[in-house]
Point group: C2
């Protein structure tokens, strides 16, 4: 594991109860995928899982590269889109691997965005009671957030990600040249999570991101790799302390309590990044009203997020006019952190620091909950 | 965890990467289930999963006992039988729990035989990425084997237990008075696994079982509890060394390579215990032919197993006449331990000792594989 991949800019080791794993970042690192697979796992078979969009763009070529190094690779493709992140697709992929005669000496390689990360990860977690997975994320969202931390799962009628497993990867290979084909609106959605990392842990990173938004939205591979590395370092430091989210890992949910409720209330028309952006603003507004969050924080978040929402094509006023506040409120009270129907938020002290609260969350007085939702959309 | 349950005869601590857990054995221990749940987990909600046979017999009453101690328990019942051990039942149980508003502070309690153990365990392993499970096995098979070791899963078209997870329980509560309602044929099927434990690890236990078969088939609660404790000790010692079955845990598969192939070839008409009994005989015959297993071992196994097969209503000659040897051979070559289509068996040195081999298994020359299958049915 000590050998650097070609074009490697840096790597982060993530601590995990199931075994530490490297996140390897650089523009062009996927050229080293075959040798990495051989050194890590020497798998008998490789099941490369991808979607109908990323398959023709990247996965088929990556499979060919692996085969050229004598790896026995089969590609399993599912229909692109969040609608595929279901138990049905999971079962189909599993059955296809079984029909192909794959056994315990199989390694799953996921090539794609957050849907692929979560879905292929869950296939690997449950295939013959668990085989290793290597994550090759192709979107900012998956590079910055989804591929690190070991969360896998699928959506069910009752909500997103409610069925799944913690299944840390064997390795994550992040190649920022793959961002080239990512639509700019999706780049903007993904970069919201980077700003969140700055907001909860590192003010100077937050400010640097604002200065560099142009290069990042252009997916300039070196600058993108540097930012991904910074975000992965922050996330790794947090999940390394609390893999199962019983304590400090909660702070990664900043913006997500309101964000998830808004996504659900919009029937997932609202993009994840935009929802989290609005959630951060709403949760900062409540924090300021409670005197927990430094005055002016909400405005700083708004200034940083407005260009991303704009590029993402998500207009807060339009969102406000279409979202049903009662519906958002009802989803808020069902949030996983809620206790006895009362939502709990992660609150900032200021940009760069989270207020500790009780296990990193704060009960929100009911009269402020509605204000927070309205505040998010202003 | 130090406080003994009422009627506790003994307990075994099982070592697990996810946290050690106690297996608590005695006639009447389930009366202590409510206090155990409160001391272990202080759960907000309890999801008691059982089948349509065991529910009315035991789970409904256990749920009432728990409610009397202020636990918030809901019972989820699936149709009894191996045919229910599917992804479909798993999804239905999960959705029912979500509809009941259960969250991360839920504990699953499985009350039933091996199907319930595996199915409820897999529900717990994947519900909101994993909640704790307490196993309350009600059959010999589940008490002696299925509830210890953390294996959970469901069957799919391609085979049994091919989808699942390692999810060690929080605790296992074994109450041997529950065996009273278990049909004697199923008692016999389950006791085969106890003889297997003796065969691989402890000759004097093997011999003691033979002497006590009458009391055990009568499900005499104290004697049953002593035997369950002995078997759990043997299994715990093995899985504690190798939870993920990469080494010594393989030896628990003695009899299971041929056994699983026979079960599959019979379309699961053949009972699990009977199949393992025949598998042990076949694998001993091959071991003797290879000079690995002491001569006479197969005959000793045959003598010990014949009464159990008889009580189980499984006649080896009838099985031999109905099983298609080619079909058994084909399933053998697809066994999870097979390498390049060549089956590998766990072989005894003699009763009480396994021959180490290469990672505890031995490649079997192809001409002997057919003999082994024929040998199993003689």
């Amino acid at each position: 594991m000590s050998k650097a991949l070609p074009n490697e800019l840096g790597r982060v080791m993530v601590t995990s109860g199931a075994g530490d794993y490297p996140v390897i970042v650089g523009p062009g690192t996927t050229s080293g995928l075959p040798s990495l697979l051989l050194s890590l796992a020497a798998p008998h078979r490789v099941a490369m899982i991808t979607d109908s969009h990323v398959g023709p763009l990247y996965a088929d070529a990556l499979a060919a590269t692996c085969r050229a190094e004598s790896l026995d690779v089969e590609v399993f493709q599912f229909e692109a889109g969040e609608a595929s992140k279901t138990r049905k697709t999971w079962a189909t992929l599993t059955d296809q691997m079984l029909e192909a005669g794959m056994g315990r000496d199989t390694v799953v390689v996921s090539v794609g965005g957050g849907v692929s990360t979560d879905l292929a990860g869950f296939v690997a977690a449950t295939f013959l009671r668990g085989v290793p997975v290597v994550q090759v994320p192709t979107s900012y969202l998956a590079m910055i957030d989804a591929s690190v931390g070991g969360k896998t799962g699928v959506d069910v009628r009752a909500g997103k990600n409610l069925v799944g497993a913690f299944h840390p990867p064997l390795a994550v290979v992040i190649d920022t040249t793959l961002l080239e084909t990512l639509p700019v609106a999706e780049r903007a959605q993904g970069l919201v999570e980077a700003l969140k990392h700055g907001a909860i842990r590192d003010e100077s990173y937050f400010d640097a991101l604002i200065g560099d938004l142009g290069a990042l939205l252009a997916a300039e591979p070196i600058r993108a790799a540097e930012v991904v590395l910074s975000s992965v370092r922050i996330k790794a430091e947090i999940v390394g302390q609390d893999e199962r989210e019983s304590g400090v890992r909660q702070i990664l949910n900043f913006g997500h309590t309101i964000g998830h409720a808004m996504e659900a209330a919009s029937s997932y028309v609202l993009g994840h990044g935009a929802a989290v952006a609005m959630g951060m603003k709403g949760e900062a507004a409540v924090g300021e009203a409670l005197g927990v969050t430094q005055a002016g924080t909400r405005r700083r978040l708004d200034d940083a997020l407005a260009p991303l929402l704009n590029v993402a094509g998500e207009d807060p006023r339009w969102i406000a006019s279409t979202l049903d506040v009662d519906s958002v409120m009802s989803f808020l009270c069902k949030d996983k952190k809620a206790r006895a129907g009362r939502p709990r938020f992660v609150l900032l002290e200021q940009i760069g620091t989270v207020a500790a609260g009780k296990r990193w969350t704060h009960a929100i007085p009911s009269d402020l909950v509605q204000d927070s939702v309205l505040g998010a959309t202003q």
